[in-house]
Structure formats: C-alpha cells, structure tokens
C-alpha cells in the first residue's frame, strides 16, 4: 500500500460527510425546502466559524462544557466509591436495586421542577440534576462491575491473605473498571443531554441550550444550525476522549 492509497483509506470517514454536504447543498439549490428553514451549507459553516471566532458561540460552548464537566465529575466522584461499596455486597445491592433502577428510569427532565424549587434557578440546580442523572448510570454500572468480578481472582486474593479492604482496593476496583468505563461513557453522554435541556428550560443566560432556543425564537436559522453542530461536535468529542482514556487505563480490556 503506498502513501496515496493509505491517505485515501484513512480519509474514508470524510466521504460520508462530503456526501451529506453535497445532498444538503443540492436540496438547498433546487429549493425543495423553504430556504429560510434550510440555509445553505456555506451560510451555516460561516455562522459556525464566525460564532466561534467572534466569541458568542464559543462563549456558550465553553459554558456548556463547564457545566457538563463539573456535573459529570461530581457524579463520578460520588458514584464510583458508592458503587464499589454497594456492589461488594450482593444482598446490600439487591436491597437498593429497585430505588436505583426506578430513578435511573425516571427522565431527568421530570426532576427539573423539583430541583428548581429546592435549589433555585442558578447553575447549582443544573449541576445537581445532571449529576443525579449521570451518577445513577455510573453507580449502576460500577456496582455491576464489582458484583461480576471474576470469582477466581477474588479467591486468589483471599488465599494470598488479602483482607476485605485490600480485596476491594486491589482486586474489585480494577475488576470493575471496564464496566465502570461503560458507565462513565454513558454518564457523560447523558450529562450533556441533561445540561443542554436544562439550559433550554431553567432560566439560563448562556450555554448551547440557551443559544438554540434563542436562535429558534429569533428565527436565526444559520445560527441555530451552527449551535446544533457545535453541540454534536461536543458530544462526539466527549465520547471520543472517554474511549481514548479508557484504552489507556483499561489496557487489558477484552484481552
């Protein structure tokens, strides 16, 4: 395989993107859809570019990243130790399983009013409701990871004389890591969803969610499309980074 062939190979994902842009441009060009509702790809890309460089979109982008990250970290810091603790005793986990599953199945958006009443309309409400939703997903995965730890490994630690705490720290924690990362990846995606919805509906002055709603109300379609793409890029980026971090840390995964 020579260099040109290789660069064609690695450019494969781009083909789909180019195809989509071409279809979009064609649809816009022959005016199938109302041009006000569907602006041209150029206009949208320009809006994305200018919004990022003049700072308006960038500012909202950063605000969303900040909220998502803070909420996610809060969720992880609480859910990982708690998940290990609950998962290390199957009867204990069974006794709280219903509560976890119930609130895990409750749409976080249904909790907005409650959190608004409890914590006001500031960022605190958004952070807490997001951490709650993401934390449950992480908690559930960590606990399952611990409960499904390889029996032989636990026995090996036991026969080597590890006490309960050492087994938890040296074996169960590591055994649960692959499943923990599944939880973290789902958790961060969910955190982004909740943050954007919260920015739309919980009195916000910044953030991608707020920007989307504003663009919609003012009928600034290129700006709205730009914000959607920014949100998509953010979600993709977060997912990609967690996969990369997972590969580094859980190097033994699937081997």
């Amino acid at each position: 395989m020579n260099a040109i062939e290789r660069s064609i190979q690695s450019a494969k994902p781009l083909w789909g993107v180019l195809g989509l842009l071409a279809v979009w441009w064609l649809v816009w060009k022959i005016k199938v859809a109302d041009p006000v509702l569907l602006p041209s790809p150029q206009a949208t890309m320009f809006s994305l570019w200018s919004g990022m460089t003049d700072g308006s979109l960038w500012h909202d982008f950063v605000a969303t990243v900040r909220l998502t990250t803070v909420s996610f970290l809060l969720a992880a810091v609480i859910a990982i130790p708690l998940g290990i603790f609950l998962g290390s005793s199957v009867p204990l986990y069974r006794s709280v399983e219903f509560i976890i599953d119930f609130f895990r199945s409750t749409p976080a958006s249904a909790l907005f009013p409650l959190f608004l009443v409890l914590f006001g309309t500031g960022d605190l409400s958004k952070i807490l409701v997001t951490a709650f939703g993401a934390g449950l997903v992480i908690l559930f995965n960590v606990a399952y990871g611990v409960m499904n730890a390889r029996q032989t490994r636990l026995l090996a630690a036991k026969v080597m004389g590890a006490n309960k705490l050492q087994t938890l720290r040296d074996v169960m924690f590591w055994e649960s890591l692959p499943q923990t990362f599944i939880g973290l990846r789902n958790g961060i995606s969910l955190a982004l969803v909740i943050v954007i919805v919260a920015e739309m509906f919980i009195g916000s002055t910044e953030g991608l969610g707020h920007r989307l709603v504003e663009a919609q109300m003012l009928f600034r379609m290129p700006e709205m499309y730009a914000a959607i793409f920014a949100a998509g890029a953010l979600g993709y980026g977060l997912n990609w980074s967690s996969v990369m971090i997972e590969k580094r840390i859980v190097h033994w995964g699937g081997k």
């Binding site: 036991k158 026969v159 080597m160 004389g161 033994w252």
Partner: protein, 286 residues
C-alpha cells in the same frame, strides 16, 4: 461424630502409661499427629444440596512430600483441596496443619485457570510481588526474594510484560512463582498443567520438582493426567466416586530428580498400571 478438640500439643516426651499399658493421651495425640504427617483431616463432611460428597472423611497428608490426587470426574478432588485451603467452607469435621488452624498457616494455591487467577492490570513481576506486599515485606527484601526465585526458575519470560502478553505456559509459570514466593508451608495445585501443551507441561513439572527438592514444601496436586500425577508424586491418593472415599494411597519412591525417561522406568510403569486398575474399577458404572 466430629469431635471438637482443643488444639493438641505435638507429641514430646511420652506421657505415663495407665495400668493396662495403654496411654489414652498418647493415642489421642497420635490420632492427630501420626508421624510424618502435615495435614490431618478428621470426620470431614461436605454436601452440595442433597448430594453428599464427603461424609466422615479421614486423611493424612504427609509432610515434605508431593501428594497427587486422582479420581473420577466430579468425585470431589477440587472440593477436597478447596476445603483444605479454605476457599470453600465444609459442613463438619476438622482440618489441622501440624495442629495449627488454617489461619495460622501459610499456604498457597495454584489455580487451573491461570488467565483468571492473575491480575491483568499488573505486570507479571508485580503479580509475583503482590502476596509479599500483602504480608508487609519491605520493598528491598521483596526484590531480593523475587530475584532469587526468578534465578532458580530460569525460564525465558519478560517479567515486565502484562499477563495477557504472555503465552499460557508463561502465565501459569507466573502463577506458580506467585504461589512459591511467599515460601508457603503447603502448596495446593488444582490441575496446574491441564491448559498447557505437552512440552510446557514437561518443563513445568520439572521446575516444580526442582523447587520441591530445594525447599521440601508439602504439595498437594490434583491432576487429570495419570502420568503427571505419578511422575511428580511421592504418594498418589486415589479417590472413589461420590460419596467419596479413599480407594488407595499408592507410594512411588523413585529417586529424584526424575527425568523424562522416568516414565519408562519399570517401577513407574508398575505404579501407573496399579493406579489405572484401581481407577478403572472405581470409575466404572456400578
């Protein structure tokens, strides 16, 4: 009938005899400490649900010897060494190591499934260090002991690799080294070679014999392969079908080090044949 005994003292000076020349105290001690015995098992009971595996099972495991355990599928070989090594509980009876309980005894265990027994998040070398860390051995002393063990094993393994980067035989070698590094009083092995190819098995059993000759560690090994069982053993414990009893305890006294050609030795052939006959009798459907 499992009688609960205070831990008896090992026999020292013979206590006074009674009028009829009998000595109940000595008899009781000898019951627990037959000469040259390391592990005494008395009145052991074990059932899984309605299935009785062991009932009133008695066994002496000799000190400083290798005892192979051989018997029909599912007769309870793993169950036996798992109970002795404390991996699973038993329903009744007593197991003592030189009169000590398990918690007062340093034991090690080599699992059949080496892939699931090693910690893949640690390098091979750290896997070997781990039990010493648990024992609180200082780093310098740990390194000295691990280095000495690596030297004596003399196998070409990259000890800085992660377990999943090693071959099956190399992984099982790491497991055996991890078990030996703590210098256990007893080493248990459950089918340690069953996932290895023939060449690796020959190498592994040779290394085990070498360590055994250097240290004289009491070993108890379950094997599905009669050749391995006899080759390594001083005694072969043959078990019956469930409910499990001792079919025979066969001695194999060939000199060590035994070599690849030991298997064609007439004594080896005789012992293996004898074991096979008993096994076939016990394994056949009644």
């Amino acid at each position: 009938m499992a009688l609960k005994l205070a831990k008896p003292e090992p026999p020292m000076a013979p206590p006074p005899e009674d009028s009829r020349g009998r000595n109940p105290e000595l008899e009781e001690r000898l019951r627990w400490f037959p000469p040259n015995t390391h592990i005494t098992i008395r009145g052991l009971d074990k059932a899984f649900g309605d299935t009785t595996i062991y009932e009133g099972f008695d066994l002496n495991i000799p000190r400083g010897k290798i005892t192979s355990v051989f018997g029909p599928n599912g007769c309870g070989k793993s169950t036996l060494i798992n109970m002795i090594s404390g991996l699973i509980p038993y329903d009744g009876g007593e197991i003592l190591f030189d009169g000590k309980s398990l918690s007062e005894t340093h034991i090690s265990y080599v699992f059949q499934n080496y892939r699931e027994a090693l910690f893949p998040w640690m390098r091979a070398i750290d896997n070997i260090h781990y039990p010493l860390k648990l024992m609180g051995v200082p780093a310098a002393e740990r390194k000295r002991r691990v280095d000495a063990l690596i030297e004596s094993f003399d196998v070409p393994i990259d000890f800085n690799a992660y377990p999943y980067q090693l071959s099956g035989g190399q992984m099982q070698t790491i497991c055996i080294m991890r078990a030996l590094v703590v210098d256990p009083e007893v080493l248990f092995l459950d089918e340690p070679f069953s996932a290895l190819d023939y060449e690796m098995t020959l190498l592994m059993r040779d290394r085990l014999q070498k360590i055994f000759q250097e240290r004289g560690t009491t070993m108890m090994m379950v094997s599905h392969n009669l050749e391995d069982a006899v080759w390594l053993a001083d005694h072969i414990l043959l078990l019956t079908r469930k409910p499990t009893r001792i079919a025979d305890m066969v001695a194999f006294e060939a000199d060590r080090p035994r070599t690849a050609t030991t298997v064609s030795d007439p004594e080896f052939v005789r012992v293996q044949k004898h074991c096979l006959e008993i096994f076939l009798k016990e394994a056949s459907v009644r």
